[in-house]
Amino acid sequence: MDLIKTENLDKTYSDNGVPVEALKDINLSFERGEFTVIAGPSGSGKTTLLNVIGALDKPTNGKIFLEGSDITIKKRKELSALRLNKFGFVFQAYNLIPVLSAIENIEFSMMLLGIPESERRSKALSLLDELEIKDLAYKRPNEMSGGQQQRVAVARAIVNDPEIVFADEPTANLDSVTGGKLLDLMEKMNRDKNITFIFSSHDNQVIERAKRLILLRDGKLDLK
């Protein structure tokens, strides 16, 4: 069974009363273990697609099946639990919690799952070690570089062993060397832990590494 399958997804925004069709008739499916990049020019609907599949936003029309069950009919609370248990997110602007240190940011996600404190700490430490940022454990986001913050963000996204990690332009704010290293890391997590990654990007470096490439143009799939 597909991990995720979309059926005729549409998303129309209303921009001050003017309808903007951001997604049109998207039919896609993703399987476990994918390392997929959604690419397309600016404004083509990449972020919108990730948000809709990631249960952050509702489609205007269409269905999304996660392991066979339709998530578009789920309540807000259920979606919140779904995101916590099954999804991980990496944002372009890192978006760590500024008042928490690196290790606390990672622990925070586990806390939301109700994992006891002692377990949190050791798991967060071993993950920091794996991502080669152990020495950053007690630094706050504003004491870290962008690349370092994004590594912590990746750690936060994968710590609860999600089915899928959604990463919206994760390298856009990073230089190519740093971005490359971050991609190495995510490739490793994909390989070693079989975590599914779905990116959006128009960064060639990212697109080159994609095992599968999905092209968007004006909200539609570009199937050539």
Partner: protein, 404 residues
């Protein structure tokens, strides 16, 4: 962990938090001072009355309190004194002859209340001895009179001068006697300075032809809280012919005022809380607005609405609690360091005397108020955070994350 986040969030916008914190602190300190003054004033009024003449318990002939005629003397002195001595709560008592009459000097005359007191016993029961500002307390106990400052001015008499006192005797005819002014007192209650005189009890009994009879046995208990209970015990022992009244029955208005004030504290604290709540709502709304994007991210990674509400409410609660604790400590220090020594109100004393307060006001902190503040203000902070928290969870994750 939520507490940790809430606490750190407080210090992200230091200036805003300190403003809110200061307003809480100022509110609390003001509430403590206002209460200590008001409470002190009411207790002072009550204790001044108790110490001037009311005492804790009065034993009379039944009906005396409503009809203070000279004939209404205690029906059985021994029984009354015995009942007082035997009660475990009683520590002192004093016998008093009480009547009203006329006092005249060479220059003027005035209506007065006359107290005939036992010079030794009265020392333990009332503050009249310590109120003497000129001359002295009874010396020989023969034909001596203590009068108030205002009365001495009106009669134009001084220490050593003679005055004539007239009053109804037991048989209805007029008795009179000459007394020498031995002391002039200034009490905290201007009524006493104007219209009360004290003479030795034996002189009073002679003048009124009372023999050994008297009108009142005034009792001081070890702890005034037990006065009503002790009064009941004594009354049941003495029976119908006597009336035994505790201070709260003699001064119902003052006691009622005090009781009412104790309820007012909650109203006052509520009003202070109401003034503070808007500051808290405002600060938390700003905090939520500033952290819109962050809240969106928290939602995205699966933080439930309940937890987001908790986080925001906790932040407000911690500010409120911190402010309350600092305010209570400051208020306490201010109270212990300054207020407790009394505030000299001599410049307003004229008007305050007529309320029976006195020239120096001794504020008194009430535990009820401290506890009420400790509970109310943090609770109010929580309530103040509800609307901002509601606004936070109303956010859509996507729009919140896009927010800059």
């Amino acid at each position: 962990m939520l507490i940790k986040i809430a606490w750190r969030n407080i210090w992200r916008n230091k200036r805003r938090s300190i403003i809110v914190l200061s307003s809480v602190i100022v509110g609390i300190v003001a509430a403590i001072c206002m209460d200590a003054l008001q409470n002190g004033m009411l207790y002072q009024m009550l204790f001044n009355q108790i110490n001037l003449s009311t005492s804790h318990i009065q034993i009379h002939k039944n009906g005396f309190i409503d009809n203070k005629i000279v004939q209404n003397t205690i029906p059985d002195n021994n029984a009354a004194e015995q009942a007082a001595i035997e009660n475990e709560h009683v520590s002192f008592y004093s016998k008093r002859v009480i009547t009203f009459g006329l006092i005249s000097s060479a220059n003027n005359s005035s209506g007065i209340f006359l107290f005939g007191v036992d010079p030794e016993l009265e020392k333990n029961v009332s503050i009249i001895i310590s109120s003497v500002v000129k001359g002295k307390y009874f010396e020989t106990g023969i034909r001596e009179v203590l009068i108030g400052t205002t009365l001495s001015e009106k009669l134009q008499v001084d220490i050593g001068d003679k005055i004539v006192c007239m009053a109804n005797m037991k048989d209805g005819s007029i008795g009179s006697d000459v007394f020498r002014v031995i002391g002039i007192f200034r009490s905290p209650d201007s009524e006493y300075n104007k219209a009360y005189i004290y003479v030795p009890i034996t002189d009073a009994q002679n003048m009124l032809e009372l023999g050994a009879e008297y009108h009142e046995l005034a009792i001081i208990t070890k702890d005034y809280h037990f006065a009503p209970q002790a009064a009941d015990e004594i009354e049941s022992k003495l029976g119908e012919r006597f009336e035994v009244l505790s201070y709260d029955e003699v001064l119902p208005l003052l006691v009622m005022q005090l009781d009412m004030y104790k309820e007012m504290i909650y109203v006052i604290n509520f009003i202070i809380g109401l003034a503070l709540i808007f500051g808290i709502i405002n600060a938390m709304l700003m905090a939520v607005y500033e952290r819109t994007q962050e809240i969106g991210v928290l939602m995205a990674i699966g933080m439930k609405n309940g937890k987001i509400v908790n986080m925001i409410v906790l932040e407000a609660f911690l500010i409120g609690l911190l402010g309350t604790i600092i305010g209570v400590v400051l208020g306490w220090v201010l109270y212990k360091g300054v207020l407790i020594n009394g505030i000299d109100l001599s410049s307003f004393a004229e008007s305050l005397d007529s309320f029976g307060i006195g020239a120096i006001l001794y504020p008194k902190l009430s535990m009820e108020n401290l506890i009420s503040l400790l509970l109310t203000i943090p609770l109010i902070s929580i309530i103040g955070a509800f609307y901002p928290a509601y606004r936070a969870v109303k956010l859509q994750p996507v729009t919140a994350i896009r927010h800059v």
